[in-house]
Symmetry: C2
Subunit: 162 residues, 2 copies
């Protein structure tokens, strides 16, 4: 079998120290800006947005009392399914194709990046919306994706003495 | 601005040591098995494979002198484009929609995971085929994706003293 990651970090508890430090990295400091679409949009609107912004996921939201509240998400796979069925995208409401909030895996701003990465791997998702729970509302405040984690991995491999 | 990754690894050169160790992780020890499709297939075949295997990318290959040689790749976005154009996928050769090898960003088995992650971020790709150059042929021997990097990140955050 391949050498485990820990093999390269052995000796004098170094591995454990690095893990503890890595777990200090917080979602709130690394989240990126999610691309959102209003829940009254069509599947076609979502598709155009994905192509224009080169995205894999669009978040479906509504505004409630000044908050951007998450109600669903749409992936490229969702759109591919309906496109292949040759349905008329401009006539399909986004709410018919999206995954709804109760089924979406999320993270909180105060979670660690490590916890976020665990969820991405465990639930086989590309990204996680960052949700601030406010008065029972799911305020969408960001996004953590596999790209976020990959960028941080590059930063970890580029550290200099500070 | 957010605290840099290095902030958590400062003191007594720990950050630099950590980076050097991380760069020892090699592509050849972490690559996963790519899902391939023969170059004579159709766009419909690729789409079915993506849905069955829950993939974002399928590699298009041919066999040459016993080697599986990479000739192209097809992403979900490529398929979404033709599906939306309502073209007849079973009649479209995969070679018409794929990105061809000269335009594909690759890594070698002996590259570091760090270099692979840099390429994923720099070129905005989801994954990299791992290519073993043999007598001028691009032998496809694996795959490194953002999921690979995310899994390693989770391992880094889980290290115990060994």
């Amino acid at each position: 079998a391949r050498p485990r990651v820990g093999y390269f970090f052995s000796g004098k508890h170094q591995g454990e120290i690095y893990s503890k430090r890595l777990r200090l990295l917080k979602v709130k400091d690394y989240k990126s800006i999610p691309v959102v679409i209003n829940e009254k949009s069509t599947a076609y609107d979502a598709m155009c947005m994905m192509f224009m912004e080169d995205l894999g996921t669009v978040f479906v939201t509504r505004e409630e009392e000044g908050l951007i509240v998450l109600v669903g998400l749409v992936s490229k796979k969702d759109l591919l399914k309906i496109a292949v069925a040759q349905q008329n995208m401009p006539e399909i409401p986004i709410s018919m194709v999206m995954t709804r909030t109760p089924h979406i895996i999320t993270v909180a701003p105060t979670d660690s990046l490590y916890e976020a990465a665990q969820k991405i791997v465990e639930f086989h998702v590309n990204c996680l919306p960052v949700i601030n729970k406010q008065n029972g509302k799911n305020e969408l405040v960001g996004l953590i994706s596999r790209t976020t984690i990959t960028r941080v991995f590059v930063e970890l491999g580029s550290l200099k003495t500070v």
